[in-house]
């Protein structure tokens, strides 16, 4: 199913699609995105096979059902249906009372049954939207289908390979297809849409949505038209996009290509184009869609699904707060750069908000999460984080010590307070103890002391550095006050 561009929502101005000819004005870019997402399930869409990890040896996660052996039948995976419903609800979609599966028929060696079980005219959900920045992107449909296998060719493509191998580990893995209307107007918007979708999917727990692992695949379709025109130009669909960066670049490239085609008097051809990461360009692919008539018909092996309304309402009620709402709340407390990271990940946002609720100071906690937690991906319980942040804030441990305590707490599961106590990390704030050390520092650095007294304030840095070396546990605030007093 491709996200068509047949009813654009733009104000009406006389015709002016991307037709050949003279046009000195601006071009408007029109983008719809079709996203395939692998829902978080233990097993495949229609059989009990486990979903293979990325590096599993070929054909190790297969059974008679996903191999498409004669005589087998599909049985739908409830967890996949649930993930699809949650996604649809989070995208504000309508859930029709009746939904069914259909067969999409075409022959290819990575498709064991000779048809893909998908959804055609009665998808699981329709007519939703997702707010991305200030743009409300309409969602046409979210439906459920199964993935195909993978081909590995010795040689070039299938038709020219001297030997080809089929790996069916992915055959039958569930996929949700999320189709947007052509409401996006730039590469930035398309990328932001895909990223927002990822955040939403992770927030509701429907998918890990990792693009690099192929759990989220975005296929934009792109056309250009004269600014102000209400008719749509001819679109191309892009495939082989493996990251948000690639999505952005591929669209920029394709828009530019279309503009050049049109401005040089040519016409854009409706086709599927592949993105080459190596060459950073799109190239024409022989599209299956043009040669094939998929002969959709209702899957007779699966009775139509009558979704239990009570179940749907239960799922709706259990949906977490939408990421956009949470982000708005976080922006009231934190700088946008921090919100961009904390608000994009439900676990980080939960960690932040819970730790703060447990008494952790907001600013330093956000800072800690952005600089320490997000890059390492190592999560501590909010209670422990709150405890550590308070220790740091009250001047009991240095930042370096806090980092070590943090990592140890993650590894061992012990509380930061225990670890700090055990290592004697607790900062020394006692003046009588620090006075001895401060005096030793001044004695050992006569030049710096003289410089400081002569008015060179930066000489204090050298003195503090020496002090930290001699006494890492020294409370820096108390120590510097002491030095100042001794030098006065």
């Amino acid at each position: 199913m491709s996200s068509g561009q047949d009813n654009a929502p733009t104000p009406s101005v006389p015709r002016g699609g991307a037709a050949p000819g003279e046009w000195g004005g601006e071009w408007e870019v029109v983008i719809g995105v079709e996203v395939h997402v692998q829902p978080k399930t233990l097993t495949k869409m229609f059989c009990g096979c486990g979903v293979a990890p990325l590096n599993a040896p070929p054909n190790t996660h297969v059974c008679e059902v996903c191999l498409g052996l004669p005589g087998v039948l599909p049985v739908p995976n409830r967890a996949a249906v649930e993930a699809c419903l949650k996604t649809a609800l989070a995208l504000n979609c309508e859930i029709p009372r009746h939904t069914k599966f259909d067969r999409k028929n075409y022959m290819y060696p990575d498709l064991p049954k000779g048809y893909q079980i998908s959804q055609y005219d009665l998808p699981m959900s329709i007519n939703g939207f997702l707010e991305v920045g200030t743009r409300k992107v309409r969602i046409r449909r979210v439906h459920l289908e199964e993935d195909t296998g993978k081909l590995i060719h010795a040689g070039d493509k299938l038709h020219r390979a001297w030997e080809s191998f089929v790996d069916l580990n992915r055959a039958g893995v569930p996929l949700m297809e999320i189709v947007s209307e052509p409401d996006l107007r730039s590469a930035d918007e398309a990328r932001d849409y895909a990223m927002e979708l990822r955040t939403l999917l992770r927030t509701i727990g429907a998918s890990e949505a990792d693009m690099e692992k192929g759990q989220l695949r975005a296929e934009p379709n792109i056309s250009i038209r004269r600014a102000g025109a209400d008719e749509l130009g001819v679109k191309t669909e892009l495939k082989n996009i493996n990251s948000f960066r690639a999505l952005h670049r591929a669209i920029l490239y394709e828009v530019d290509r279309q503009r050049q085609v049109v401005e040089s008097g040519g016409a854009v051809v409706q086709e599927t184009r592949g993105w080459s990461e190596a060459e950073q360009r799109t190239f024409s692919q022989r599209s299956k869609e043009f040669a094939e008539d998929y002969r959709y018909f209702p899957e007779p092996d699966l009775p139509p699904l009558e979704l239990d309304r009570a179940w749907v309402e239960e799922l709706r009620a259990a949906l977490p707060e939408p990421p956009s709402v949470r982000r708005a709340r976080l922006l009231e407390q934190l700088p946008a750069t921090h919100v961009a990271i904390i608000g994009a990940d439900r676990e980080l946002a939960d960690l932040y908000e819970t730790a703060v609720a447990r008494g952790a100071p907001p600013a330093s906690t956000a800072n800690w999460i952005v600089n320490e937690v997000a890059p390492s991906g190592k999560l501590l319980s909010p209670e422990s984080l709150a405890e550590l942040m308070k220790l740091m804030h009250d001047g009991n441990v240095t930042r370096d010590q806090a980092r070590e305590a943090y990592l140890e707490a993650v590894e061992t599961g012990r509380t930061p307070a225990e670890i700090v106590a055990e290592h004697g990390y607790a900062q020394v704030s006692d003046e009588s103890e620090l006075r001895v050390i401060a005096e030793a520092v001044i004695d050992a650095n006569p030049q710096a002391a003289t410089d400081y007294r002569a008015g060179k304030k930066q000489a204090m840095q050298a003195l503090m550095a020496d002090l930290r070396k001699r006494a890492p546990q020294a409370n820096p605030r108390v120590a510097s006050e002491l030095l100042l007093r001794l030098l006065a």
Binding site: E64, G68, P70, K113, G114, Y115, R295
Partner: protein, 488 residues
């Protein structure tokens, strides 16, 4: 002695086995001896399963000795070549699956194995169950045990002939448009098609998924009933299987027809091409049932004429998709020397499929094609709904529907092979039951021109017990028992 053992019913054989008069091994040996004598003439079997029968007979004898014999312990069983049995070559009567040994056993067969049945071998059938004479087998035609120059019917002709020729006590077939009932009629045995969803289709190599059902061939209504009951019931591997308890088919299935209303559809009674001898046998059967206290009522199934046309759209449409998996890539025949994948598909399928299968794949592909879908497939589904409604209306006026099973007795080999339409008309009285998903049985009701005639009883959805009740009453009152043909 040995021929006596090959003419037994399940009931009689079980009594002898439990009394210790014979062992399961004796019973198998008698059948093997009988098969060696008659099967070269009848050609009911495609292949034999000595490893299975030895193991299963031993097991049955052990359990009988221990006194915990399951209901079918030691009963020789023949299995149609469309039902997958682990490790046993299963080819759907087609060259394209030559050498294919499923790694799993289908549910219906598996349940009979658990019930103690002893599998003798795999029986011949029309390729992918498409045909009414078993002449479309990709291997050889099977002959009617009552007249070796005639067909046994089809598509489950091998199973019907095996029971009729004393080569098995019970056999499994599948019925998509009459493929159990019609050969049962032509071979003079009992054959039953259950309500769609009563028996799991898991392991049944699909012809038309919305029509296919597994059912038994036997020498008595009792035997058919118990075999069906043991196969029935919910299967988590088949989403179209019902959760109704299998044993319910036996409830109230005795007690006679006194006070029952039996409907005779005028469209069936006077069906075009019905032979006078067949009509006379049906009249005699109706007379007996009336004498037993049934009320015979005239009914109408007004859309009967459109049933055949609708059937020959829906069944080929589903088959065109179901047979797409036979592409030479993973199992069965493979023309790997083809220069590219498209040619490999074409060559494999051209070589592996017979004429009738290719005809139906083409018909079905056409009917599902874009631009023709509404005119053919969708229209046929609407007719199907009307036919269901016909039956719903009819069952307001009667408890069961009775008719001939086949308009003709067994016809000579080759008589209809040049005229597919005349072959299709063999199913005109049976396929309505498939389109509506209803249970039906064919029981022997005398002969015409020395050849068996079958009497069909159709019941409402889930009304197997009504069907069995009428069939039992007729069998008892007519003393018309399935006999074993001497053959040689």
């Amino acid at each position: 002695m040995s021929d006596d053992l090959t003419a037994l019913t399940i009931k009689d054989a079980s009594r002898l086995l439990r009394l210790g008069t014979i062992s399961a091994a004796d019973l198998v040996a008698a059948h093997v001896e009988r098969i060696e004598r008659v099967d070269p003439h009848v050609k009911a079997y495609l292949r034999f399963t000595p490893e299975l029968w030895e193991k299963q007979a031993d097991e049955a004898d052990r359990k009988i000795r221990q006194g915990d014999a399951p209901p079918l312990a030691g009963i020789p069983l023949a299995v149609k070549d469309v039902l997958c049995v682990r490790g046993v070559e299963t080819t759907a009567g087609s060259q394209i699956l030559k050498g294919f040994r499923p790694p799993y056993t289908g549910t219906a067969v598996g349940r009979l194995f658990e019930a103690g049945a002893v599998m003798l071998g795999v029986t011949n059938c029309d390729e992918f169950a498409m045909g009414s004479s078993t002449e479309n087998s990709g291997y050889f035609p099977t002959r009617n045990p009552w007249d070796l120059e005639r067909v046994p019917g089809g598509s489950s002709g091998g199973s019907a002939a095996a029971v009729a020729a004393g080569e098995a006590i019970v056999a499994l077939g599948t019925d998509t448009g009459g493929s159990i009932r019609q050969p049962a009629a032509l071979c003079g045995v009992v054959g039953m098609k259950p309500t769609y969803g009563r028996v799991s289709r898991y392991g049944l190599i699909a012809f038309a998924s919305s029509l296919d059902q597994v059912g038994p061939f036997a020498r008595s209504v009792d035997d058919a009933a118990i075999t069906l009951a043991l196969m029935s019931g919910y299967d988590p591997l088949d989403a179209t299987s019902s959760d109704r308890p299998g044993m319910e088919v036996l409830n109230n299935s005795e007690g006679g027809v006194k006070g029952m209303r039996l409907g005779v559809p005028r469209e069936y009674y006077d069906v075009k091409g019905i032979e006078p001898g067949v009509k006379a046998a049906i009249d005699a059967a109706l007379f007996i049932l009336r004498r037993e206290g049934a009320e015979i009522v005239d009914i109408s199934l007004p859309h009967t004429d459109y049933g055949l046309a609708a059937y020959y759209i829906i069944a080929p449409a589903e088959c065109s998709s179901n047979l797409a998996r036979f592409d030479g890539v993973r199992y069965g025949l493979s023309e790997v020397d083809a220069p590219n994948i498209t040619d490999e598909y074409l060559q494999t399928r051209r070589k592996g499929f017979g004429t009738e299968v290719r005809r139906r794949v083409m018909l079905g592909t056409y009917a599902l094609s874009s631009g023709y879908y509404d005119a053919y497939y969708l229209k046929a589904q609407k007719v199907r709904t009307l036919i269901k409604r016909d039956f719903d209306d009819a069952f307001k006026k009667c408890d069961a529907i009775v008719s001939a099973t086949s308009p003709t007795v067994a016809f000579p080999i080759g008589a209809k092979t040049q005229d597919p339409l005349s072959m299709y008309l063999c199913d005109v009285l049976t396929l309505g039951g498939n389109l509506a998903g209803l249970p039906g049985i064919s029981v022997p009701c005398g002969t015409s021109e020395g050849l068996p005639v079958g009497f069909q009883v159709l019941g409402p959805q889930w009304g197997e017990s009504v069907v069995l009740r009428v069939a039992r009453a007729y069998e008892a009152a007519s003393e018309m028992r399935a006999e074993v043909a001497s053959v040689v």
